[in-house]
């Protein structure tokens, strides 16, 4: 039965077209993720691709290791030396690029220095150029100090409760330092484009699963279905099973292929680095590695897909309308964007299901929830909440269609 339910879905011409769209989408997003990582050669030309990624990895991995005071001082010294070079001082862009070619190995650590010595909500690319070797010793302390200053600022002082502020400071202080650094551009690119592919995947999968529960009614095949021996139990269970099988199969196939392509080309290095050891994750209060962030993205995305598409199937089962059902993923994914302008909704927006499809961003946000006297970030809340809801929806879906 399950096999025929799945066959029903994949035999539809529109769904065959959906598979082609998924393949094209996978190719396009993977391409953009791969060209995200560029290596600037000695002549100042930017190159992308496997060879460029490998070269960049070698260059950056010259700085691989714990970011200690000595390393930071060395970065500042080399940075200053390059800044003093003719290429850097030149007004010719190509010459400047040649200077950058020498800097790109240390660029990640340099960016972290920029982050540490700017205000919490500021970024100045040239800040590292003016940090002294004495100042840089405060590198890790500055991270926590910036947070404390910001939490006491006009912008943030009423945004969080004292308990939440205490939670954030404690989390910052708990970060194990010195941070370990190595080339992790492959993971960065993978994580950056992950939400694009998982969102597109949910939208396309919506077309696949939306008809599972409504087709019988649209095709007027419901009478035969429900008057059959298993029409009110096993055949309904097969439909539910087919829905989850299709969601699971498409999600993991596309996401694992995407991961394999991007990581295969850009390299697996940096998996064990903390996300704070990079430009994007410096301010995150989640103490996780790039690989753990990747797992969060994959499993969060899966739970998000399950929940959103379960909602779609519920609408299909209840209303017998494929059109309404197809609209559900669009509503759940795009409505939060329209509502983001309302600051009063920020707490709710932080735990809407679309967040699960962009876990790489969620780990950077300061969305906090107080449960009793405990404060937690949005990540565990959305993961647990939507997993439980998705599981709880299974018998509801079965019951609705059975009726």
């Amino acid at each position: 039965m399950l096999w025929y339910e799945v066959k029903k879905v994949f035999s539809k011409t529109s769904n065959k077209a959906g598979l082609v769209i998924l393949a094209v989408m996978l190719a396009v997003v993977s391409y953009f993720a791969v060209i995200q990582v560029g290596y600037v050669d000695e002549d100042g030309n930017t190159k992308t691709g496997i060879k460029a990624a490998r070269t960049l990895r070698d260059v950056k991995n010259q700085w691989a290791g714990y970011i200690t005071e000595e390393v930071l001082v060395e970065v500042l010294e080399q940075n200053a030396a390059i800044n003093a070079s003719d290429e850097y001082q030149s007004k010719d862009v190509t010459e400047n690029n040649k200077a950058y070619a020498k800097k790109q190995g240390l660029s990640d650590i340099r960016d972290m220095i920029n982050r540490a010595f700017c205000g919490f909500r500021e970024y100045d690319y040239y800040r590292a150029d003016s940090v002294t070797t004495e100042e840089v010793k405060e590198f890790y302390n500055r991270r926590t100090l910036n947070l404390k200053e910001w939490l006491n600022s006009e912008e943030a002082k009423d945004q969080y409760t004292d308990l939440e502020k205490q939670f954030l400071v404690e989390r910052y202080e708990e970060l194990e330092t010195p941070l370990y650094y190595e080339y992790a551009d492959g993971w960065s690119a993978l994580l950056e484009y992950g939400p694009s592919i998982s969102m597109l995947l949910v939208l396309v999968t919506g077309f696949f699963v939306s008809g599972i529960f409504s087709n019988e009614f649209q095709l007027k095949a419901d009478s035969i279905f429900f008057s059959a021996k298993y029409g009110r139990d096993k055949a309904v269970a097969a439909k539910v099973g087919a829905g989850y099988f299709i969601i699971t199969f498409l999600y993991w196939t596309v996401m694992l292929l995407y991961s394999a392509i991007v990581i295969g080309i850009l390299g697996t290095d940096g998996a064990e680095c903390a996300i704070q050891a990079g430009f994007g994750g410096w301010k995150s209060f989640y103490h996780i590695t790039y690989f753990e962030n990747y797992l969060l993205m994959m499993f969060g995305g899966y739970i998000g897909s399950l929940f959103i598409l379960t909602c779609s199937m519920l609408v299909s089962a209840k209303t017998h309308s494929t059109v309404l059902s197809v609209a559900i993923p669009f509503i759940l994914l795009f409505l939060p964007s329209f509502l983001s302008g309302f600051s009063v909704l920020s707490d709710i927006l932080g735990i809407l299901p679309d967040q699960l499809l962009q876990m790489n961003m969620v780990v950077k946000y300061f969305n906090l929830y107080q449960i009793g006297k405990s404060v937690v970030g949005a990540v565990p809340v959305v993961m647990v909440l939507y997993f439980v809801l998705s599981v709880a929806a299974v018998p509801v879906l079965y019951g609705i269609y059975k009726k």
Binding site: Y4, K8, L219, S223, S227, K229
Partner: protein, 295 residues
């Protein structure tokens, strides 16, 4: 096998589609005859557990069919009036899928499909997609799916609707062939569909059973006689207003009328034996328009 309807009623709001029906069916072919809207489909959908009665009960060998659940549906084969299918499935896939939801094991299902396809004349179309079949072929695929589980109760709702005369005759013969040792309930508003194959005919009107019995019993139940006479064409309209006319045939000499009347309508009228069509018109005369009565 005994299917018993006791005081069966189905209401949709204020409208009563089936009104306190009491019937008992055993093996044999039952022809349910009535105009559109008489409640035939509602009755059949209740018999297939697709609709719950408002009141009353349906029992199968003394057990409530709604409580029997899958056990009852295992005995059932149903071909609905609006027969839907999966357009991208081949005939073979379609039948195997229905066999699966009927609880048949794959090997038994494949064997049964191989048996049934030649019976319904679709053996050469087994690998053809359902959407490519003609109307008659789809109906035959429909009867094949109903027969997959070798049902003890076969319910066919307007199975010949939309078929051309050849297909109708072929389909009628097929039903007759498949009707042995089972209870077949066949609904139609096409009198000739059931005249030759039904052991018992039920006439249904406004949700109620107005008459039931064998073809002869039904014909004999009509208290009026059937007359044939030829009149001038200009008189035909006048006669149609005064009498129930079951047939009118015009030619150069005038109009030959088949009149249902208790008394001799005209001096030149000749009494002829009544047919089931005449009875149908007698009982459903008020509603019997061209759309509803196909003879």
């Amino acid at each position: 096998m005994e299917l018993k309807l006791t005081d069966l009623t189905k209401k949709f709001g204020d409208f009563t589609a089936v009104d306190h029906m009491n019937l008992t069916m055993t093996e044999g072919v039952y022809g349910l005859l009535g105009v559109n809207g008489a409640g035939k489909t509602t009755l059949m959908r209740m018999l297939c557990t697709l609709l719950l009665p408002t009141s009353g009960s349906i029992t199968c060998d003394g057990k409530d069919i709604f409580k029997m659940d899958g056990e009852y549906r295992n005995l059932l084969g149903y071909l609905p009036q609006d027969f839907g299918f999966y357009p991208e499935f081949t005939v073979s896939d379609y039948l195997l899928y229905i066999a699966a939801i009927k609880g048949m094991r794959p090997a038994a299902a494949r064997k049964r499909v191989r048996e049934l396809l030649p019976k319904v004349g679709l053996d050469k179309a087994a690998n053809k997609k359902m959407k490519k079949l003609s109307g008659g072929m789809k109906r035959r695929a429909g009867i094949a799916q109903a027969m997959l589980n070798d049902p003890k109760i076969l319910i066919l709702d307007e199975p010949t609707a939309g078929l051309d005369p050849n297909e109708r005759i072929r389909f009628r013969n097929l039903i007759s062939e498949l009707s042995e040792e089972r209870l077949v309930l066949l609904s139609t508003h096409i009198v000739s569909d059931i005249e030759y194959i039904a052991n018992e005919i039920w006439l249904m009107k406004d949700g109620k059973l107005v008459q039931n019995g064998t073809v002869d019993e039904i014909i004999n139940s009509m208290p009026e006689s059937v007359w044939i006479c030829t009149v001038e064409k200009k008189m035909a309209d006048d006669m149609m207003k005064k009498h129930k006319i079951s047939n009118l045939k015009s030619d150069a000499k005038g109009a030959e009328l088949r009149i249902i009347s208790a008394k001799k309508p005209l001096p030149n009228a000749q009494r002829v034996p009544a047919s089931l069509e005449d009875v149908f018109l007698y009982y459903f005369g008020g509603k019997a328009d061209e759309e509803n009565v196909v003879v």
